[in-house]
Amino acid sequence: MLESLAISLVDAVPVLSGVPLWTITLLIMVVVAAVVLTFALTYAGLATYVERKVAGDIQARIGPNRVGPVGILQFLADGIKLLLKEDIIPAKADRFLFVLAPYLVFIGSFAAFVVVPFGVGLIASDLNIGIYYVMAITSLVVVGVLVAGWASNNKWALLGGMRAAAQIVSYEIPVGMALLPAVLIAGSLSLQDIVRSQGGLFGIFGWNLFHNPFTFFSFFLYYVAALAETNRTPFDIPEAESELVAGYHVEYSGIRFAFFFLAEYGDMFVVSALATACFLGGWHVPFLNAEALPAVWGNLFSLGVFLGKALGLVVVMMWVRWTLPRLRVDQLMRMSWKYLVPLTFFNLLGVSLWLLLFQGRGIPQMIASLFG
């Protein structure tokens, strides 16, 4: 895809024809990566601010309101503070792994942004195994967390790392099985294909969410399981403050801690973006065919709609976080293995049967066909 972009760029600007094609392709790749990373970091910064505001509102407080108008610049202040803090590496830590771990976590979380379908043509790389890629690359987070816990040479950190590994590995299964219905309906693992399969019917009733009862439950099952995968309250036992001080990142300070922090918010967005793409119609603009619009407007509209849906889900995550208390370890495991795994499994079975019985047509489609 990027190569074709490079070819069209060379066609448009004849001066570039002397430059080898791979240079231009590489350049475009770097630019795209920079844009995605910039978005991710800006989002993560603002999300910390929004999270604190949401927490404040829910707890009948005001939240940050000192830095800039209504405290909007708080995240910049925090970022600068984290940058300037002393970088401490414990004497008995495994230095190499200790330094490596934040990058693993950060990469695992932000590499998933590559396949997030932001708009009609706005996707860094439309991999044909998009969902598979996300599931695989976010597993890097487990490795990073486990490494962080081990390298810190601290019992709290190690316990946190072990818990995180157990939790994420357990919840990968329901997450995967809850996403499969969308894959089945679209017949493709590419996220763009999955989003495209949800068009039509006023742009709302085409959503997989309303396809059939099983996909409806699938969405919620995915959301809960994914929430657990992001290690956020009520599933934040890897960093449970009251038990483990701060879990796997207890020994980290300054910018290394910031990496963990940003990765958590990046994870939140990836999870919400996946839920949006797979169940909430992705970038489909309601009552409008975004693909038929002129490229600029179509992309802008679809970007806005997609971000609106995904960030809405992020806010719901914050809402859940400030509502529910933390689960115990055994409760967490029971929830995964005794509830989510069987439920998602039956759900998958139900969706498969439905698709088999009704030739892949959803309820809204059937109702629409009744009226011609």
């Binding site: 509102d57 829910i58 707890q59 407080r61 005001i62 859940v320 509502t323 529910l324 439920l343």
Partner: protein, 244 residues
Amino acid sequence: MGFKAYLYDIWEAVATTAKGMRITARYGVDPRETITLQYPEERWEPSERYRGFLHNDIKRCTSCTMCVRVCPVDCISLEAVRGADKKMVLASYDINIGRCMYCGLCVEVCPPKSLVHTSGYEMATVSRGELILHFVPEDAETVKGRVAKQVAEAAAKAEAEKAKAEAEKGEAEKAAKPADAPQAPDPSPPPKPPREEAAPFIQPAAPAFAAGNPETADAAGKKPAKETEEEPAKAGDEGGEGKE
């Protein structure tokens, strides 16, 4: 666990989560639920009966020492001297507000109601000595010196008047008895014949009494004025040097 209980578990989880989220959403959305007050910019109005920092209107204070005696934690100390007009003059009136427990007994007991609770509640100092409120702006020694001078002047005037009166009396006796003494130059000290014992009573610079915290007063011995200065000086060693 039976299948029914299993399903019920799921239902309960969903229902309770929804209930909790409804409550938090209400708090999150309703602006009236935000009760935080932006403290330094806005603040609650303390109640009328709020017992804040003490304030003594020293013009009305009669130096009766009732407040000193009643205070359970001995945080009030005062010094007073007898003035020229026989009224007590406050040389110093200090309240160690850092020790006060705001029981309000001193306010209740004050006969002229000069001691009152204000609504003040904000005070931060770098040393404990600064928590002592001084209500007499001048130094105790200055006041005592001035009062002593006034007393001495009054005594001298009385003496002179007495002498004059005697002289006049002698003159009058000598002369043909005029109606009265022409006039007293200053009517405020009543032209009574000064008694002999009045002079030792108004010994210059001798405090009529000094009341205060027993332990510090005892330590200060015969110089009660030093007592109030002691604590600030001690605390000043920690950093507030020169605050007095």
